[in-house]
Symmetry: C2
Subunit: 552 residues, 2 copies
Amino acid sequence: MLGQMQSQPLLISSLIEHAERHHSATEIVSRRVEGDIHRSTWGKTAQRARQIARALDALGLAFGDRVGTLAWNGYRHLELYFGVSGTGRVLHTLNPRLHPEQLAWIINHAADTALCFDMTFLPLVKGVAAKCPTVKHWIALCDADALPADSGIPGLKSYEAWIGEQSDATYRWPDLDENSASSMCYTSGTTGNPKGAVYSHRSTVLHAYGAALPDALSCSARDSILPVVPMFHVNAWGLPYSAAAVGCKLVFPGPALDGKSVYELIEAEQVSMAAGVPTVWQMLLGHMQANGLRFSTLKRTVIGGSACPPAMINAFNDDYGVEVLHAWGMTEMSPLGTVCTLKNAQLALPPQEQLKVRLKQGRSLFGVDMKIVDDAGHELPWDGKAYGDLLVRGPWIIASYFKGEGGDPLRYDEHGRGWFPTGDVATIDADGFMQITDRSKDVIKSGGEWISSIDVENIAMAHPAVAMAACVGMRHPKWDERPIVVVVKKPGAELSREQLLAFYEGKIAKWQIPDDVVFVDAIPLGATGKMQKMTLREQLKDYVLPELRAQA
Amino acid sequence: MLGQMQSQPLLISSLIEHAERHHSATEIVSRRVEGDIHRSTWGKTAQRARQIARALDALGLAFGDRVGTLAWNGYRHLELYFGVSGTGRVLHTLNPRLHPEQLAWIINHAADTALCFDMTFLPLVKGVAAKCPTVKHWIALCDADALPADSGIPGLKSYEAWIGEQSDATYRWPDLDENSASSMCYTSGTTGNPKGAVYSHRSTVLHAYGAALPDALSCSARDSILPVVPMFHVNAWGLPYSAAAVGCKLVFPGPALDGKSVYELIEAEQVSMAAGVPTVWQMLLGHMQANGLRFSTLKRTVIGGSACPPAMINAFNDDYGVEVLHAWGMTEMSPLGTVCTLKNAQLALPPQEQLKVRLKQGRSLFGVDMKIVDDAGHELPWDGKAYGDLLVRGPWIIASYFKGEGGDPLRYDEHGRGWFPTGDVATIDADGFMQITDRSKDVIKSGGEWISSIDVENIAMAHPAVAMAACVGMRHPKWDERPIVVVVKKPGAELSREQLLAFYEGKIAKWQIPDDVVFVDAIPLGATGKMQKMTLREQLKDYVLPELRAQA
């Protein structure tokens, strides 16, 4: 027996239509690449999105064609979010921080047919244009008169001139299949080539509902939301979509992510909620502390991308009365998986105990199932102690990558249900608060037990003579793997192997203490400052564990 | 091009699974029919829902079979919400306030195969059982030892014994098509026979997301929510589902809806949000005022079902610091359509202006499109003045009634999109706040213009000599219809036709003033206290407008 409800598909066009009808006058404020502050509204955004739709039709782009963007957070990027996806084309947000070679590789892999970019990225685009034969249309996100006389890009158009040709702003959004692709984003690809996550209208709308819930990002029409997290970073955590669903004000920082610029924007636009990665908040807090400033409207910050340091949570909460919400997600998850919104039980804890909970990545939203499993795939208990591979499933989590790259990423349970392996190792406590303890590939598997490389590193880092520490597993014939710790000493500091190993005693189980310490001058770091353990392991390829040296 | 996301269906079973995994210990507190307070949890609810699932399988009920309930708000009813729908059977909530003949008609029309009822309704069930041949299983929601020796119902089982037979509480919820029927509810049917709205898993889950949003019912795991609105009244506005999605505490009042019982429950269970119809809140406020009581935890009340009087909004807000949220919906809408959550612009208004907004039914949630149209189906402006038939569409609004009763209820626009006519006449202002001004069938259409029967009645009711007034339209050869007002005078009061007509002057446009006043001893009222205008029109079938009497 079937239900007898309307079979209206879940579409991104319905988000912008809702925002226009119900929140037409609500502002979209952007600090532009040009440096000035630009004011738009949901009504204007909807109108210009329809102009984009007509302009894409005029270019003859086919259904499903990819339209790339290389842009900061701003009103034109927002218009493209709705204008491109609403028509059934696929918005492909590109990360301008990538190496040009990698950028060209991704554009070619996605076969983008048009590319819209902020003028700040003109040099980058010039460098890759000749290597991207699929791109037929280059569009600079600027006024017609801001276009350079000789850009070096064949047929370059200004965005304003391009959409300005469509003086008729009427357009009927097509009734697409809700499972149609709406947008895509490539993973950073620390191993192998980047892989594309392809979102659908359905997944995007469901994520918009889930992310806006009170215990997630809590979006209301009364809010003024500042997404500092880039729109090229998993759709700014989906905030543009949730914002349209609830009709809140949006404030975009453009390229100015320094503490002063962000602070001034928060104050001028009465921002109530801001979302971003820890580094941005570090700059903001530094600026405020140096200048004795206060927030007058900010109530919440959502922090994700990497783990938030305790000192930052305390500074926001204790010094500025701003609630910090730790969040966790992935490109493959649209991205939101968990938000660390406390329940009444945690709110009743003393401050130090509460902080321990706030450091966790949080509880999953309805729509995200999660579990932790051991090597054999058996589910582990939610006791806050057992840790295992974190697997997730749900309607806004990928089933496969674009073009099937990497094969089938899912792991199937006994009921045939596919789970996406996050690549993280985590604990989950009885209240459902998840905490990432390691990356799966970094965890050391010793004698059937797991050792968190992060725990081993944190202890070394707490030693006054240690500047940086990396823990990696080394093959062992009996134990499978044994941990060693690779250490960079602070300039001028003295530290012996025996001293550091002794430092571990009492801080960690005896069998978790590293077998050896290797002193090096530097540990290889990636572009985002993360330790490159793959490279480190490569450098250690001739290393032999002390216990095995006699035999060698 | 399709998205590459997981194709997980939206299912009611996923709601209870989420609540169990993430909020197992969160309480479900019920005042029972037995009079005592019962304490359960989401964990126990999930476990007992699985026992129901196994017990339904044991009875041999087929996929899609209807399981009726005649029950107050309580933990067993909640268990049936998930246990019945989760398996692919259809939960059919019955309204015990209906006349037994109508109840039997509905049970037969739905062809319920099992019926679960609270012991308070045993006399009612005894009266209809013989007339309901489709019902093979009668289950009393009580302990085994509470079952009367001779109930008069063949094969009557106690719920606790029935589910208790399933000692194994493991069960794998089936992976249903999300468009499968999950539950049904009949409209009250003021004209003709009642009609069944058949909800799907998809519509229910989407409604659960929408209703839980900050600007709708705002449900968080921190909340303790008291649904006073009956679970047989459009699934208690969907609160059981939204509550499972967010894992909040639920508090059920059972049959005790008097002011004292409701107040004590709110205080004892630290209720933060309560939802119900105005009459219940009137009793609650009366009890509090008479006893000088205060709320210690209640923050919000959601009021729907009928328009909320201004005095009630003021009393909650000014005297008790409780925010009143006016909401509007229909059985055909799952039910939520609009909630009157103010935006910043309205919050900045002076109190009297703000109250005017709070009296409106509110703004639509994302997921509900609405428009107002004139007789020709042309859309009317959102200016707060123009009024017309209110039409709605969205994924949790019905497409048709059970068994196709009443034909195709939708009206189709120029794009072939079907809109459900609510039967209400409304205005919508520029900020999207909708206000119902009349029922479509009651509005008087005079010379191409519409006259609100409610406006005409409210003016008469403001006259000190008037106890009750009903405005109805009378056929007129030139103007189509002209309004007259039917009046019951207060006992001993004196009032002439001319005095009342003079009272209208200056309060309403001249052409909107009724053509005549008809004094009667009583106006026919329905079971819920609403005026029965159809009966009234029948009583007035020989009435002739003054202007036409000469010609007659």
